[in-house]
Amino acid sequence: MAMAGEDVGFPGPLSPHLGPLEWDRAFAPVPVTPREGVPGAESEVPFAFVEGMTVAVRGAVDEDQVDVLRAAAEEDPRVVGLFADPVIAAAPVCPQDPPLGTAEDVERLLCVDGLQEQGMQGEGVLVVVVDGGVSREYLKGKGKTPGFDAGMSFSSVPGVKPGEAKAGHGTMVAFDACIAAPDCTLVDVAILQSMSFDGLLSDALSAYGHLQQMVGAPGFFERYRGIVVNNSWAMFHPAWDFPVGDPENYSDNPNHLFNRSVAALERLGADIVFAAGNCGPDCPDGRCGDFTSRTIYGANSHPAVLSVAGVDTHKRRVGYSSTGPGRLTGEKPDLCCYTHFSGSGVAAADSGTSAAAPVAAGVIAALRSRFRYDPSLPATSPAALRRHLIENADAQGGTGHSPELGWGVLDGCSLAAQPPT
């Protein structure tokens, strides 16, 4: 409320005379530029306290008393205006925004040093990048020199040889996985076309069949401490799929062949990570169309995977991060992890839940290098590790699961202090 006149001595003599308004006595009057014709408008020092000047004061009124207040304000010559005081909040990061923070900030936030002091750097762990292909040469130029398993890698993208793709989305994903797991061994599974980032679900089904053959082979977990499969891809729009309820549907159908393949790979011992998606309500990807609710489709919401939403390096949800509930599992995403930072250099920002997922995958790989998967010990299963991540998440003051942040932000510092046993 703006008030003018002789007496802006706050607010004692006024309050009994302004209807149902409850004054906010902690809010000091703020000088405002008065409208023409109002005392003080002619002042050469508009924001100095001068007699008769206009100031803004604050109070509260019950919604059903607003008309009563308006009537009282109209009767009081000292009141020059009554205005709403809406809630404001920081605008969430959106795709076109510049990066916020760096990969080094992400390292610090995840306590990568602490993880490494505990011997958790990804050694002996495979990180599978199911994407458009990885450029090992580019990674090396950026100081990332993970191992590479050529035998497990394969490409269904014409002209793309594993490890030798043009630096693009898949390379960014690999870089981000190496933030917490610099000593991991990469497996390049190229299924997305490098130019348009598109593929078909059958490409992923083929990839998962290949991975199952590898992981299911005798002695796999004697040779490797773990295998983390990162998936920074999704279906974006219901129109890409059969309708919900149709037996051919994928998004909501646990019986779809790919969703069953995901379950099978996880039962074999793979830690599977999926990006939640970029169809968040604040600033969704253009491919989402008008669909910005319940956009964690199919395997991205599978009960056997870790579904990862995105927060910036200030731990605020990025505006494009898809929100739950998930289609196959209601309580998705599971966790948030960091995105929209300056990192790989493939683009200005390592962004999207595309980046958040492999950052989380790298943390899992780091944990597995000390807490290896043992098929004879259920306490080491992927489900047990997911529970451990959730129990140690930074809930950001919340209680329970939220559709925006899941169970909270992945907390590498807590995991370093309390590694799995």
Binding site: P95, D131, G132, H169, M172, L192, S196, F197, D198, G199, L200, L201, S202, D203, A204, L205, S206, G209, Q212, Q213, G216, S232, W233, A234, M235, F236, W240, D241, F242, D246, P247, E248, N249, Y250, S251, H256, L257, R260, S261, A263, A264, R267, A275, G277, N278, D285, R287, S351, G352, T353, S354, A355, A357
Partner: protein, 79 residues
Amino acid sequence: MSMVLMGIRWHGGPPSLEEVERRYALDPERVDQRFGVVLVDAAEHLYSLRLEREEAAKMKRDESVEGPFGDPQIAAVED
């Protein structure tokens, strides 16, 4: 043409595409040869093949056959 995914249960180890085509009397010209026979779940002896919808419709529906299932587009979660 519209392609679909079909699930088949096959005991005794992974089948070759030729074995599957023979069993279900499928025209190889209408089956995705590059996709082949893909393992879905070894514990369930479940595999997948990809073929034209009209060809899939001819498959005899016994307990060994599931589907069809859709094959939607996917994309990297990035601008």
